[in-house]
């Protein structure tokens, strides 16, 4: 479960991006473009959040034949609660963040 520490601004950006359409599965590259996070920031964050039970990951069939299956992500119920909590505690981040 997540600790009591306030999430980093990168994590907040990710929570915001994933909570907009919470039921929708999102691909890593799309999240990168939306949040402005670098892949080197996004993937470790996704790994950590998946381990903490905030994000769930699933392999999705490719949209185009001949392409590899892609990992898709969405918030779990706990992740959604955290996203709402973060949203209540402070103004939501709008737009992109500076990658770490």
């Amino acid at each position: 479960m997540p600790g009591s520490r306030r999430p980093s601004k990168q994590m907040i950006a990710l929570l915001n991006a994933l909570s907009v359409r919470a039921q929708e599965w999102r691909h890593g590259y799309d999240i990168m473009k939306e949040t402005g996070l670098f892949s080197g920031t996004l993937y470790p964050l996704l790994m950590r959040m998946t381990e903490q039970g905030l994000v769930e990951a699933e392999w999705r069939e490719p949209a185009q034949p001949g392409r590899p299956a892609r990992h898709a992500y969405r918030l779990t119920a706990s992740g959604l609660v955290l996203a709402q909590q973060v949203h209540r505690e402070g103004a939501p981040l709008v737009g992109k963040v500076s990658p770490a």
Partner: protein, 211 residues
Amino acid sequence: MRLLAARLLMRLAACCLGRDRREWAWAMEAEFEAAVEDGRPLAFALGCFAGACREIPVQPEGRFALANHAVAVGLLIPVAALLMSGPLFGISLLHSGPAAIHEVVGSRGGELLLNVSTRNAAPALVLLVLALTAGHLSIAWAMLDRDWNRVAFLARLNAAATLTLVIVGSVLFLDEDWIAPPIAGLAVQLTAVACLMWWNNQIRDDLAPAI
């Protein structure tokens, strides 16, 4: 060229992530195709590589790999170099006094380690020290290969070579300080290798259910 470099970085990133993050490596590789389509493969790959490098100390397997490389490159190879420097240049790890095997065989003045009656043993001593040097280098190689059976075998050989050095030194009535550094080196090396082998077994046991 940029695409090739990017693919290479992706492979390196996958290696850095290790076995228990393999699925994440596949996830990154799948997204890499999207980055290629978007015309930013190198930036994506660099990010993945940097992220994967940061994950190394976080994972038990990564910490082990770092420690393994540190012992092999930071301990065993310098000890081997110092051992070899004795016979080659007369630099003193092999003894505490001013004489080295090189000096016995060679020409420099000062107190000799071997006297007239024992100097015939010099080639054998040099050979033993060179065998120890080769042993250290081989152990370092085997450790990086993670071939622990070979490491154990080579460590036994090194212990035997050191013991032989002690016995030969005693027979020749050599200054006991002469043999202390190789014994100390061997003790440190065996302790480090034993710790790494124990650690490796722990990691293997932890990963066993997942494999």
